[in-house]
Structures are given as structure tokens and as C-alpha cells.
Subunit: 279 residues, 6 copies
């Protein structure tokens, strides 16, 4: 794995071959985010996206109390997004739009990362926790997780991704609107029933272990096949089936020219573990 030690707000380790583990590193403040953190977040996932030694990513918060409590509201009030703006209404709106654009762009880097990401929600997981986990591929959580689309309670509609992505990652729009409009806190079981997470584990430790295990499994497979699968499912979300089929055909017209097919077939027959070249 490349060197990730220059990042200060995130711990990046490699718990298993081809697997990276990213932790939000501000546990003393419930991993609440201020501007420097989301700027760095984008850079972390950009680097992981092209790092040939990384084939799957686990994403969690440091410490036992929270994945993240969301935006650091105090910091935002003092000098950031919520600190008011200068000029007339149009100029204030322009400055606000540029700020939101940049913030959204950083969080979207999680989604744009070419490697599969399993997000482990645990403890307090409010606001930005939902925005960010909707960008991941697989969401799991521990039994003690408390989740909320909290934004309405500070007088705003969530604008960093939750309202754009949540209706597309879960099933039950009545439920999506219930939690988004009421800002109420819900637990792991409700998240599972609604399809927001696909597994619930007994504790944070068990969740992390399961995530690493899943990531290792995926990392053992052809990276050409895995990264293509991620890309094509994401593409499907925003396109018609006809467009999606066409894009798939073009994508695979190049990707099927990989040695991985031969390696995989041969290993399948010989019951050996295939090795795939870096990507």
C-alpha cells in the first residue's frame, strides 16, 4: 500500500492483503467534521482509488462512541458554512453555492473511488454519517448504532448527498420521508428492516471484523471483474436499462481482454487460489 501517513484526520491501515481501513480520527469530538476534514477526506479516497495495492476499503470511525456525529456545528457557526455571508442576497447565495459545491464534491469522492467500500456504522451516526455511508457500496452496522438524518433539526435540508442518494439506496420511500422529515433517531434493526444496512452485528468489533473479512474476500477476486461490477451498478442507478446495457457492452468490450478470465477459469478447475496482476 502507498504511504498514507501524511493524512492527519484519518488513519489508514492495511489489516489484510489488498485491503485498506480508513478511520475518521477525531474520537474525542465524536468524529465531528470541520472543513479541513472533508477536504482531506476527498484526497484520501482519491489516493485509494488509484492505489494498485488496494482492492477493497473498510470505512469506520475511530473510538467506541461514534462513527460520526456529523457536522461540527460550533465550528460551522464560527467561521464556516453556517456563519452567514456577505453582500446582498444574490452574492450571499453565490458564496453559499460555491461552498456547498466544494463540500459535496469532497464527499462524492467516496463514491467515485474505484474500489468497493464497506462502511461500518457504529455508535452515534448522524447527519454527515448518512451522507457519507450512502456513497459507500455496502453498509453494515453494530447493534448499538443510533442513526438520524439530523439536518432538519438545525433548520436546513440535508445538502451534502443524503436527500439525493438515500431514496436510491433503500426501498421504502414512506420510511425515507418519515425519518428525513422528522429527524428522529432510529436504531440498527430499523435500518436493517428498511434495507439501509444489509447486516447488523453484535458490537463494533464484530462489525469491523466482518467488514475486513468481506473486503478480503472481494480483494481475493479479479480486480478487473470487481471494479467493473462496482462501476456498472453505479452507472445503472442513474440511467435507463437500455443505456445501461449499452454502456456495459462497451465497458466489457475492453475488460474481457484480461488475463484474469483465464486465471480464474484455470484456478476454478484446479481448485487453486488465482493471483491477479495489479490494477
Amino acid at each position: 500500500m502507498q504511504d498514507y501517513t501524511r493524512f492527519t484526520h484519518f488513519n489508514v491501515s492495511s489489516p489484510s492483503e489488498y485491503v485498506a481501513h480508513v478511520e475518521i480520527n477525531r474520537p474525542q469530538k465524536l468524529n465531528a467534521f470541520f472543513e479541513d476534514m472533508w477536504l482531506e477526506l476527498g484526497k484520501v479516497f482519491d489516493k485509494l482509488s488509484h492505489d494498485p495495492d488496494v482492492r477493497a476499503v473498510v470505512f469506520s470511525g475511530a473510538g467506541d462512541r461514534a462513527f460520526t456525529s456529523g457536522l461540527d456545528v460550533q465550528a460551522a457557526s464560527e467561521g464556516g458554512a453556517l456563519s452567514g455571508s456577505k453582500g446582498d442576497g444574490a452574492r450571499a447565495a453565490t458564496s453559499m453555492r460555491r461552498h456547498i459545491d466544494e463540500f459535496q464534491e469532497c464527499i462524492s469522492r467516496i463514491e467515485k473511488c474505484e474500489k468497493p467500500i464497506v462502511c461500518v456504522l457504529h455508535g452515534i451516526s448522524y447527519g454527515l454519517a448518512i451522507d457519507m455511508s450512502c456513497c459507500a457500496d455496502v453498509r453494515i452496522c453494530s447493534k448499538d448504532t443510533k442513526l438520524a438524518v439530523k439536518e432538519v433539526d438545525i433548520g436546513i435540508a440535508a445538502d451534502i448527498g443524503t436527500l439525493s442518494r438515500l431514496p436510491k439506496v433503500v426501498s421504502n420511500i414512506s420510511w425515507v420521508k418519515d425519518i428525513s422529515l422528522s429527524a428522529r433517531i432510529f436504531g440498527a434493526d430499523e435500518a436493517l428492516a428498511a434495507g439501509f444496512v444489509s447486516h447488523v452485528y453484535g458490537s463494533k468489533a464484530e462489525s469491523i471484523a466482518a467488514a475486513i473479512s468481506w473486503a478480503s474476500l472481494v480483494a481475493s477476486k479479479s480486480p478487473v471483474a470487481v471494479q467493473g461490477t462496482k462501476e456498472l451498478i453505479n452507472h445503472a442507478r442513474d440511467h435507463s436499462v437500455a443505456d445501461s446495457l449499452r454502456y456495459t457492452a462497451i465497458w466489457n468490450s475492453a475488460m474481457l481482454q484480461t488475463e484474469d478470465v483465464k486465471s480464474a477459469l484455470l484456478s476454478g478447475m484446479k481448485k487453486t487460489k488465482p493471483r491477479f496482476a495489479k490494477l
Copy 2:
């Protein structure tokens, strides 16, 4: 709340501050709809949409037997949609299209209402019950509810919204096609399992109480935040994530210039109930 007494097919009351309750008012006929009713329905929800004293809406049927049994087929056969049309095939089709356009437009006013709507399904809830409840934001029902996409049984494909919206509000397309193609009646538990409703209560009375309680909670929050959240989730349904993020940024570039953020933050710190200006 403004004056809604001029409406004859709908009762509109205010069970709680900033909450309106709309009842379909033809209980003696299972709240079946004829043309005058849907024309009036559109006007009711238009008025609620801009009424500054309304911040959330409960929608149900009057009486114990039905939310609505759907289209009043007899009325429709005698002089309405199903009474046949004049002229050659093209002219008959034109007249039919204009009729459907107008009918769809009235029902869509429920969706276009800027305030969150919780729809309480109860008793018989057939045909138009599904079209209308798909336009609401949150759907709940009582244990005794009987639901059906009934249109196939009168020889038509549902055309007032069910087939356009149902696949986007629930999860399980196999189930959507099962019930839409077979027109079979299903109950509250199946509706819950499929994600069509997000809660089932023991009786109509309990459901109404829960709906009012939810609506009151939502009505106590910043109307800028709440109405923005509704708008942005609805927008997300029909747009790509990229389009949706951009629209969200533009929307919030104006909406973040509200006093509500300050009020909400202050109340949060002081543990008091915030008061928000009308919208």
C-alpha cells in the same frame, strides 16, 4: 388556518397547531369518487400548499368503512370517463386523452402540495386509493385495511398515477407486478412487508392519532427545512444523483439564508422550543 368551509366533498379541520386534516367526505358511498370530487380535491391541496398556517397534512377518509373504494364506476359509466365517446377512433382518443390529462392533473396536486402529507389508509382502499396515497409522503394504515390495484378487473390499466408512481415508492418490483396484474386484494401486513406503508396500527382511530402526532412533530420544526426536504427527495426520484446534487446546492444557496438556522441552533443549546416565522 385559512377558510376551507366552501369545499363540499372534503372536510378540512385543524387538529393541532399548523396541522390540517383532510377527510374524503362521502362515507355513505365508501368515499367513491366522481368527477366533481377530483376537481375539488385539486383545489383543496392547492390551497393547503400555500396556506402559511399549515405545515403538515393528514389525509384520510370519513367513516369507518373505507379510505375510498376508488372510482364510482356507476357514475363513470353513466356520463363520465367510461361512458364512451363520440367521433372516429382518433377523435374519441383525443377526447379521452384530455379527460385523463385533467384527472391526472388533479391527483398530482397532492404530490405538488409543498407541505408533508401523511396518508392514513383504512378499510377498503382500492384503485384511486393507491393512486392518491402514492402522491403522499408517508403512508400508514390500520390493521383492517384492504388494498388493491383494482383497475385490471374493470378492463383497464390504471392511468391516474399508480403504475407511474408505485414502482418508485416500494421496493419489490416482483410484488408490484403481482398485485397490479392480478388485481388481488392484500392486507396491511403485506403492505408493510413490501414497504408500501411504513407503519401499521391497530385501528383507524389509532392510525389517525399517530398521523396527527407525526404531523405535529414535523410541524414544530423549521418549515424552511421541512419543505426543502420534501422538495429535494421528490426531485431526487426523477433525476440522476449528479443533477440532484446540483439542484440541492442551488435550492439551499437561498434557503440557508434563513433565520431558522439561528433559531434552531439557539433552541438546541437552550433546550427551548424554537418558534419559526410563517412560510
Copy 3:
């Protein structure tokens, strides 16, 4: 029903009035597919689509062991899709794209068939089993079914439809990515919980019986209403609600000029079974 005896890889029978049953007919090889089979598959469903004696279709595999184990990998390696291609990278890609286009087109014929299709998954149901069943309208399975999006295990991203359609037929995108990226085998209960199938039956025989029963029910209804319902739900998947409402209005402007409405209403009143003209 028209004559389907010229097809060699598929058994087509009529277990009930207006119902066709299509069986994949290569049980000795777990119904694995080679090129001739998918070319013929397209023709079978094209014929069913316009056959006026068919109003609903049951789709399953012959034999007890498998719906289908998917692509016959050995055949594909020896002379087909996976056998490598000639020329430089661009020419190889062009030849591959044409091959995928044709393969996709054949499988999409299932979806384009104008009659409702209930797909019975049973036994081994891997790879192409998912691609094909996603094209059906209703999916049910027997308790012993083993499912997998297997493609990653042979070094490729699924390109015949699974990655384009699966995210649109089920609810839980976290689950969709879990199974698609890991290629793990899952069972009937998990398929039901995720909304991939809408019912699980005790055995293949019970599943087939239930499918025929459902198909017979649907086949007893107005074919104008039933086929319109299928078309409009499929259209909704790929269009905004506004586009979908408009298309529905145009569709029904012609379709409401059917005698079926009168027959259905009359039968409803007289409690008799309506008879509908062929379509």
C-alpha cells in the same frame, strides 16, 4: 396456442387456457447455456409475445437440479464469448462488443414479450439465471434454490443484464452490491427478504403449480388491461413520473376504446366470468 415444436432447446406447453409454460431443456447439463440456446430463446419469446392464444407465461428449467447453472463455460472457452479474439485491441473489442450486443438482445426479448411472465427459480440458479429472471415480471422460487451473481468468479463483470436490471428490481442496494461483488451463493429466504422473489414455496413442484395458478388468474382477465399494465410499469422504471403519466394517458386514450371494459363491468354485476376477444 401456435406450434412451438420446432424449438429444440426449450419445451413449450400449455398447462392451462391461455397459459404457456417454457422450460429450458438441457437438464443433463444443469440447463447451462451455449450460443444456439440464447439465439433460440429470443425467438421463443418473440413468438409468445404476439401469439393471441397466450396471455401469461411460466418460465422454468427442466429437471430437478437447476433452473440454470448459467453460461456453459467450457463451450464459451472453446469457441465462443471467452475464446479470445483476433486483431489488435480495438478490433478484438469491436468483435467482443458485437457479440455482447447480440447476447443482450436475445435475453432482452424476455422483457419485451408483451405477456406477463412468472419465472420459477429452483435448484441451481447462477449467473444467467439472474440475468433472465430480472427480465421476467414476477419471480418466485422453491426453498432449495441456490442463487448467485457468479460472474466475478470467472473474472468478468456480469454484462447480459444483471448489473443493469437487478438494482431496479430489488430494494436494498447494499445487498445488491454485497452479492454482486462477492459472488457468494445465497438461498431462497435471503432472496425473499431482499425482495428479489415475492414468494417461496416448499418444492419445485409447488412453485410450478403456484406459478400456473397465478398465470391462469391473470390470463382470465382482460388482455388489454393486463398487457397495458405490464407495459406501463416497465415504462415507469426508466422514465420520470411526468413522462410516465403522459405516456400512460396516450396509451390509454386508445386502450379505453375496448369492449373489455363493458364485458368486465357486466360480468362484475352479473357475477359471471367474462370472455375477452383475442389480442
Copy 4:
């Protein structure tokens, strides 16, 4: 033709069989618009849309000096769109949005009118003149016409339709941006060269005569064919070719069941003038 005398801001006459002529009727003020006028405009075109005695519409301004000079800026400053708004930034924006929505909706009624509209631009044709004429089907003008997308000069981006429709009715996007960003006045020849109008005539009188003549020609043809042609070209603008072809097939599946085809073919053979039933 139905009775249009209740309209006060527009003269509606019938210069020829099946042809309506709508004139903006405020020549003493260069036909500048205030709120009552656009509200009435919507109603005029709604009525024309379904009036069976109207098959084509000519749209122009009364008097010799202007089609329209656009928004009556003084009226708008005193109590309308530009008069400022109350409440905090979010509440002011909400009130502004509702106002724009309503204004746009009125102007869009021109486009939604089912009958072909030929718009005659003449004299001063600024701002709203461009918004409205972009909603018409055919645009012609007299030699003396002065046109401008004037909005930038009063500090706003045009929001009633010009910026949404102009890039789709003309060819040269470099030119569209030139005139929209600079707000400069351009003449008839430049409008013709850019494809904004399709003919230039020597005077307003000649233009009106040509418009009536064109409208009469179109009104002499099958209204089923003519109104279908308008609808399908408008649909094509906003959809892919594949979507457009499908919509066309559905539309014509009903429309080809008209007697007009027989009448048209027969008249073609007999060299007589066909008569078509009302629509």
C-alpha cells in the same frame, strides 16, 4: 369560434375559417405586460387549445410600434415581481419562486395549446417577446423588427422561458450567448440568419397577411394530422430518438383510426378539397 369577448387584454378574431388571430391589446404602452395580462394570456390559449372551431392561431401585437416591449418595468417595481419581498432570505426566495412558477406557467400555455401557432414579431420585440415567441411553432417578422433578450440590462437572467427554449429553437449557440449576455438589439436579417425566424416580410401588414395565409393552409388540412405533428415535434425536443419513436408509435396507434386518412386520400385522387370533422 367560441366567444372570446370577455378577454380585455387580448383581441381574438377569426380572419379566416378555423383560424384565430390573437392580438396583445395595449398598444398605447407598447403592449408591455403587467400581471393581469399574463394571467389572462394563459386563459386565452387554454381556450383556443380545445376550441373545435380553431385549427391554427396567429399571434401578434396590436398597433404599429411593438409586438411587445416586454415586462412593464414600472408596474413590476411598484407592486410586482421586482418590488422586493418580505421575510428573511429563504422566505423571500420562496415567495419569489412561487411568483416565477406562476408566471412561467402562464407563458407555457402558449406552447401547450394543441393548435399550431404562428407568431408575427414586429416593431419593438424585447424580453417577454422572445419568451413568448419561443413558445410558438413558427416565427416570422417584418423588416422593421427590433429584437433583444433585454433582461441582463435590468440586472436579471431571463427566467420566463427564453434561456430554456431559445437554445433549442435556433442553431447557433455562439449567437444565442452573444445576444443573451450582451442584451444588444438585433434586427430582422440577423434573426433570419440565425434561424430564429423563418421568414422576413416587408411590413407588419404583409407579415400578418402571410401568417393568416399560412394558418389557413394548415387549417385546411386534417386536424388529426396537424395537431399530432405539432405534439410529436415538441415531444422530440426533450426526448431521445428512441423514446420519441416509441411515443410516436403509441400516439399514432390511436390516431391512424381516423376517417381523415380516407377523406384525404379520396380528395387527393379526386382533386377536391377534403372536409374534416371537428377535433
Copy 5:
């Protein structure tokens, strides 16, 4: 070039290396189309699409009088599209829709042909002439060409592609609606001014010569580059710039792995004529 002698309604010759010339072969009837002809047309262009000896196509009509006068109305009245249909309104519409679907599909094969097509319009070029030429890549014509979107004159809206494609191949929507609604005949100069054709030549012979010359030039270039260029421009028409850029990147990620780049660069330096492998 492969063998095209089995086609009876079209002459296919090779006037130059890698160039095919397709002529509509019914000059005694002004090349008017009946059903067998459009079915065969689809097959001709399918074959050309994958024929490795064809790199560019010229498309014209046989004889001096017409490219094509369009649909053979007499044949259509006697047993085809315009001969009326059986059953109630819905059944007649279904049968009509299937007919239009098939007809559209045949004509669209011109567009789907992977090789560039230059269409030479000459003499009478009505109705289907416009539908077909809109599917070609480049349109040129001779001075004597008479064009018309003729369908309105037989009581129908054009449904085989003109109304879907014409607004996307020319600039001036006012002109598109003028000619489509009035069905008036227009000449070569007007076609050039509107951007419907890109060149006008003195005679049919000169036009054919120019077309062959253009096709030969294009056929002398890298077929990987040429066919990619066609595909990407067609894709751009129906997609946003963002989608189009992404599709382009995926397409070229395979196509840049061609030997043609090296050959082209080398020939450029050496001033020799490059030779490219078949595609």
C-alpha cells in the same frame, strides 16, 4: 465486398475500394415503398454494418426521377398500414402499433449501420425520403430535388422517424414546423439554407460522383477512428455532455489500443498512404 445479389429491391455495388453504393430499385414507380421493401432495407444495412470490406456507404434512388416518392399509398391502402384493422379500438390500436414498431425498426437500421452513410437526395424526395435520409450521416442533393414532409396531406403525422429526428438534424425549428405542418414542397436551396443538406450539386450525376468521392476519402482513413467518430456523434445527440464525455472515454479506452494510430502517424511522417486492417 460480400455478396448482395440476393436482394431484389436494392442494387448494391462497389464503385470504389471499401465503398458500397445502395440504390432503391423501383424506378418505374418513383421508388415508392411497399412492405417487402422496408423489410429488405433493414437486412441490407445490417449486412453492410458488419461487412469488413465496406467502410462507407452511398445511398440513392435508381433512375432520374426520384430518390423516392415515399410510401406506395395504393399498396398501403389495399393490404397494409392504411387498410384498416379488425377488432375494437384497443385491438386495432395494438395491431397498428406492432406494424409501426416493425416499420420504424427497419428504417432505424440505416442509422444503426456502423459505417458512415452519405445520402444523395434527387428528384422527388417525399415522405419516407425524409425519414430515411435523417438516418444517414451526411445529406447532399442535386439542384432539381423536390422535398416534402408529405404525411399531413394523407391525414397522418409522420411516424417512421421524421418528426423524431428532423428537429435534431437541422437548426431552425420554425422552419421544421413550417414544412412539417404545411406539407409544402421545398427545393434544394431551401434545404441547404436550413441545414438539412450540406451541399447542393448541379445534377444527380454530379451528386453521386461527389458522394462516391467523399465516401472514398473517408474509406481511406482508419476504420477504427471513422466508425468511432460516427458512434460518438450519434451518442451525443441523445445524451448530456457529461454522459457523452464518459461514454467517449470508455469507448476510446479500448479503441486507442489499435495499430491504426501507429500506421497513421507513420504515414503522416513519411507522406505515404496508410493501410489499415479490416474491421
Copy 6:
């Protein structure tokens, strides 16, 4: 204006208040591009986009001979885009895709710049000249300009934007395909006739003067109005009219809260030159 002296491949000057002039600065090599240059180009336009002292931009090439001859093919062959890639076909394609993504992203920054850009084409303007100028808002050129979509001549389909944007900035698709498929050189008059440029001037000097004059005019107007107009026209290109109208309403709901309207109206009345605050 902020400090732009750190850029080495581009000269950035301010010929007039609020106007920036960007010159491609490699005249000795006909302003041909290598990788460092496009990376820097993105940064230049990012900076201009938010620089409050810039309200309009002129973009040209340094020297008399060329706007740009396009990609520096020799540099690209030696170590860049065309130098071949490592690994199997899939890995080579992945590396190529990442390279194209980055290149496209840099060029798209021209389009994303919030200020209007007038591009002056002059002398040799091949390949990348077309990609870049399609991102500008207004295109003008001098009489001596030689243009070409040159990519086909080096064996590739243009992939940095030309094929995605050119069909949307000009009118005549037949012409677009002619020049893109043949790679032929065309002159200023043809570019004007096709609508690719909106004015032709006698020399480069005259063109630059005209561009500065136009930019100064635009820079003298309300930046809120000007930048909104640019954004809304660009948005319209990729969206339906309905989507575009809605986005416009939301955009202007904030932007109309500017002091610029009052300043503009007042100056209009007083015939003075308005001054607008920075944006």
C-alpha cells in the same frame, strides 16, 4: 485582477476593466499542447472562475500563426497518451481511461468557468482547438483561420470533447459529420455559415479587438445577471424544457434578491452607468 504570473504556459493580462485575456503561450510550436499545459489550463480557468475582478474572458493563442495546432503528437508518442500502455488489454484500457478522464476534466474547466468566455480562433486551429473552443461561450475568428477536427487522421476518434459538444453548438449535423469523418480543413466562411463562429473579422488583431470590446460590454453589466444567464443557457443544453424552467425558477429565487436590479433600473432611468458590487 488576482496574480496570474505563476502560470508559465499561458499569458493572462487585463486589457480592460473586469476583462481577462488568456493566451496560449507556445507560439514557437504553434501552441501545440503537451500534458503540463492542459493541467495548467484547468488551473487558470478555475482561478478566473472565482476571481471577483474578472467578469469576462478573452481566449486566444499567442503569435500570428495558430490558435493551436492541437495535441503535440510527438510528445504524446514519446511519453504520453499515445505512447502505449502496459499490462493486458483490460489493464491498458483502465490506464487509458484514467488518462482521458483527467484530460477531459482539464478542458471542461473552460466550460465550468462562471464568467463568459469569448474564444478568438485564428490561424491554424486544429483538433484540441475545436475541443476547447466548444467549451467557450462565444466563438469568433479571423478570415485566415484554418479549422479541422483532425483526430481521424491520426487514427482516433476525438475524445476530449469535440464529438460531445460540437453537435450541440452548431446547427447542421450533416456538416458536423462531414468535417468530423473526413478530417478536412475548412475556413472561416464555412465556419460562419455552419454557425460554428458567430462573426468573422479581417485579421487576428481585429478579432482580438472585437473580442475585448464585446467582453468589456458584458463586463459592464450586472455580474449577477450575466453569470446567471451563462449558467442557465448551459443548463438548458442538457435538460428538458420543463427541468430547465424549474431550475431557472430556483436559481432566480435567490438571484433576484440582488441590489443590481435597483442599480440597473435607476441607471436606466438616469442614463448613467451603473456600478455593481463584486461577485
